[in-house]
Amino acid sequence: MGKLTHASLTGTPVNFATNRLEIAVPKGNPAKVRSFADLAKPAVKTVVCAAAVPCGAATLTLEQLTGVTIRPVSEETAVTDVLGKVRSGEADAGLVYVTDIRASNGSVDGVTFPESTRAVNAYPISVLKRSDNPRLASAFVAFVLGSDAQSLLSADGFGAPH
């Protein structure tokens, strides 16, 4: 979005949802992970997203803010790969978004941690200036920001926009 606004291709973006990290653990949480700091323990095999992808960037931010240094056994390119490693029990913990754990249909357990609020991802929306159908686009933006869509997003685990 930054690139788009920078290039003046959109109007002012508005956030429509937020997301934060949560610790995914295999069913039953075998490594007894309770907190974000637990992920730094050498005995806990933690899988994170690579810094190049958004969930990895958020992880890095949290580490810097909290001073907790995770030594991951793997930095995956995609959230699904992190979840796969956790689901199969290869890893003891993985850092993914709340919504990813919600969408995993209970195949992994989630461990929430208070520090997650310090690195919140926001999802902006905006109509493209060169849209062929600006009215329809505006209507869609209004729908996404409206109560129906917001309750759907909330049900999937997204946080309210700030």
Partner: protein, 272 residues
């Protein structure tokens, strides 16, 4: 006679035309990629710490996988190519399975075998061996996909070479092990070498099984293909530059394979 003349005569023009289309189909995408390389930055892109780490890891693991392919593949090829037993054809097909399986499937299968929760995983962890997320896992994944190349190449050569030299060696008092080392393997050496080179090439390009089974960590499990895949997210220039490096390595490897396979071929023995 007419048939002989037809096969040894000139190739029909339309066949040449289609062959050219096929060649272009293979080479054009590579050329297209080369046009996107940021040549000004090329040196810097391919010599960044993460790129160098990925390249070195790839070379290291591919060499290890090739060695493992040799250790496992030679006996497999000898058994498949030199013995007869019930179910041999089925076994032969199964050995070649990794050739046709999507690598991701291979990765999942390896996970359920050597992974922490896998078939052998608990036994291995009792022995203090932890394969998951280690360089060993990368080597296993590469070996799994590369092994059929060596087995296939060697088995074909063994069949072509026949057993006459081995029979003579036996009547000269050579035990089966001596025959294998001093006669069988030297006779099929070109095939062993070209099979090993092909295995190396396949190991070098391994992506799916590694990603699924070994993970991705710089210097440990993130091989060149995984690095390319990751760089694609943030730095397409770096990804393209690294891809070109991989292509170059592959071309060199294939060139070596053809060189070792050709001049030492079994032609000489045929003339005896």
């Amino acid at each position: 006679m007419t048939r002989l003349r037809a096969t040894s005569g000139p190739v029909p023009r339309w066949v040449i035309a289609v062959a050219i289309v096929g060649g272009v189909f293979v080479l054009l995408p590579l050329a297209a990629m080369a046009t996107r390389v940021n040549w000004g930055q090329f040196g810097a892109l391919v010599s960044s710490p993460s790129s160098v780490a990925a390249l070195l890891l790839s070379l290291r693991t591919s060499l290890a996988a090739t060695a493992l392919c040799f250790v496992l593949g030679v006996p497999m090829a000898v058994v498949v190519g030199r013995t007869r037993f019930a179910g041999q054809r089925i076994l032969r097909s199964l050995v070649l399975l990794p050739l046709v399986l999507p690598p991701v499937v291979g990765g999942i299968a390896l996970l359920y075998t050597f992974g922490r929760q896998g078939l052998l995983g608990s036994t291995l962890s009792i022995l203090g061996v932890d394969i998951a997320f280690s360089t060993t896992a990368v080597v296993l994944a590469q070996t799994f996909v590369a092994l059929p190349f060596l087995v296939l190449s060697l088995e074909g050569a063994l069949r072509t070479a026949g057993t006459r030299y081995e029979e003579v060696a036996a009547t000269l008092g050579a035990r089966p092990t001596t025959v294998l080392w001093r006669v069988t393997l030297p006779l099929v050496l070109p095939a062993v070498l070209s099979g090993a080179v092909l295995s190396f090439a396949r190991a070098l390009g391994e992506f799916g099984a590694t990603l699924t089974f070994a993970g991705s960590l710089q210097g440990v499990t993130r091989t060149l293909p995984l690095e390319i895949y990751l760089q694609r997210e943030t730095d397409p220039d770096a990804a393209v530059a690294l891809a070109l490096v991989l292509v170059a390595v592959a071309v060199v490897v294939i060139g070596i394979a053809q060189r070792v396979a050709d001049p030492l071929s079994l032609r000489r023995q045929g003339s005896l």
